[in-house]
Amino acid sequence: MTSTDLTPRRLGTRPTPWLRTAGTLAASAAVVALYVHAWFDTDVDLSELVTGFHNMARIIGQMFPPNWSVLSASVRAAIVTFDTALLGTTAAFVISIILAPLAARNITPHPVLYELARALMGIARTIPLWVSGLLFLVTVGISPFAGVLALAVETVGVLAKLYAEAIEAMDMGPVDAMRVSGARRTQVFLHSVLPSLTPTFVGLVIYRRTVLRSASLSPPTPVGGRIACRAARFVARRADLMPGVVGESLRGRGR
């Protein structure tokens, strides 16, 4: 039986060798062209890295000794940042656990709820952090609370989606077994879906610890802003740094 599969007729249906070679060559050329374009588009010049190195060294040198007078304020700001991340993430975690089962195709109670939950998550993901931060800032006033809210929204977008996907990928056997036994939807979720996915859910939220970074970088919220300002002042106090940096870079380009 297997020998009949290797008849010349079957082999003939494949593209002829020269055509395949040409295709491979064209594809390779396209890839090379892409890299060449990117190289020139971004002004890559490795010699700059070497000739300009002393500038980098000088700036780093000027950062020492640090300006200790801003230390306590910086630490205070860092703590607020941490608090913001903690509350924002926890809120997002709770909301995601509620939202994810609605947005998982295999266990959603209703298609309309599915679309609604997906849309909500999509919106939360699309709004940039600084936009939602700005919106909350004008709502709740200038306080780190705005940061908490903005962060929660952003995190829900990502976390709920990851959770929903984890639910969709899970083994439906235990879920079906429990459903057949006449358990309610909520009971199935609490006792079958949740225990199976607890490690995944916890892992994902810990992975999202990068929200700490988001928190410190969300510019319109006072928290992030404060940290950024402190950091900048911390560095800038050392010297008239910024004009120097700009000057150096202009001189470099002129050559």
């Binding site: 039986m1 297997t2 599969d5 083994d171 056997g173 235990p174 079906d176 077994a177 429990m178 459903r179 057949v180 036994s181 006449g182 358990a183 309610r184 909520t186 009971q187 199935v188 609490l190 006792h191 079958s192 225990p195 199976s196 607890t198």
Partner: protein
């Protein structure tokens, strides 16, 4: 107890169930034999409406399963319990908790928010069910650490704790060694008799089926080929259910 008449289901152009009739009587172990793809698992899933059938009737303890919806479907289903091919316990919960899960459907929601809130009476009942299948000493072990045979027996205990009238088992011994397979089937036959349950088992082992079944049902191409006492089914008839695979390349 469970009567299935004229059940039909197609996936695309492939007709998996072509108008099937099968009935499960109390106190009886009925075994369904059939080749891969003959529609055995689909039958069980369609009967419980885990997959929506295209046509036919399913009556479970007097309830018309095809007509009921939502809350009524949930309550109707409580009369039946399923045991699956792969062991489908919640691995991160104890054997006892898994058995108690059989009764989730009768608990009010607030009592079932956490396994800690389960009523004491339910725990006692779950423990009794575990004792019934001979696994009481594993009550507090995580389900994930049980052997395949033990886990299937826990699944049977869960069905008992659920107080189901019908047990549907989809290849419950597919991944078990011969001794464990034998013990699981013996247990199913035993609970059928002692608790007067209707038990329907899909099986791939004709010898096991002959040893424990009260009735043998042969599936071929989405239809019932025979439905008789094992002593009245010849080896040739069983053999004919498994045609040589003609689409091997």
């Amino acid at each position: 107890m469970l009567e299935i008449t004229g059940l039909r289901k197609s996936f695309g152009t492939r007709e998996v169930l072509a108008g099937l009739d099968i009935a499960v009587a109390p106190g009886e172990l009925t075994v369904v034999l059939g080749a891969n793809g003959s529609g055995k698992s689909t039958l069980l899933r369609c009967a419980m409406r885990l997959i929506e059938p295209d046509g036919g009737e399913v009556s479970l303890c007097g309830a018309d399963l095809r007509r009921v919806r939502g809350e009524q479907l949930r309550l109707a289903r409580r009369q039946a319990a399923m045991v699956f091919q792969q062991v489908l316990l919640v691995r991160r919960r104890s054997a006892l908790e898994n058995v108690a899960f059989g009764a989730l459907g009768e608990l009010p929601l607030y009592r079932s928010l956490s396994t800690r809130l389960f009523p004491e009476a339910l725990r006692a009942r779950a423990y009794e069910s575990l004792e019934r299948v001979g696994l009481a000493k594993f009550a507090h072990q995580r389900a994930g650490t049980l052997s395949g045979g033990q886990a299937q027996r826990v699944a049977v205990a869960r069905a008992l704790c659920q107080r189901a009238r019908v047990i549907l088992a989809d290849e419950p011994v597919a991944s078990l060694d011969p001794r464990a397979a034998d013990s699981v089937l013996a247990l199913l036959a035993d609970v059928a008799k002692s608790e007067n349950l209707g038990v329907l088992v899909v099986l791939h082992q004709p010898e096991l089926a002959r040893r424990y079944a009260d009735r043998l049902v042969g599936f071929f191409d989405g239809r019932v080929n025979f439905d008789r006492a094992p002593s009245q089914v010849s080896d040739d008839e069983v053999e004919a259910l498994y045609p040589p695979d003609d689409d091997e390349h």
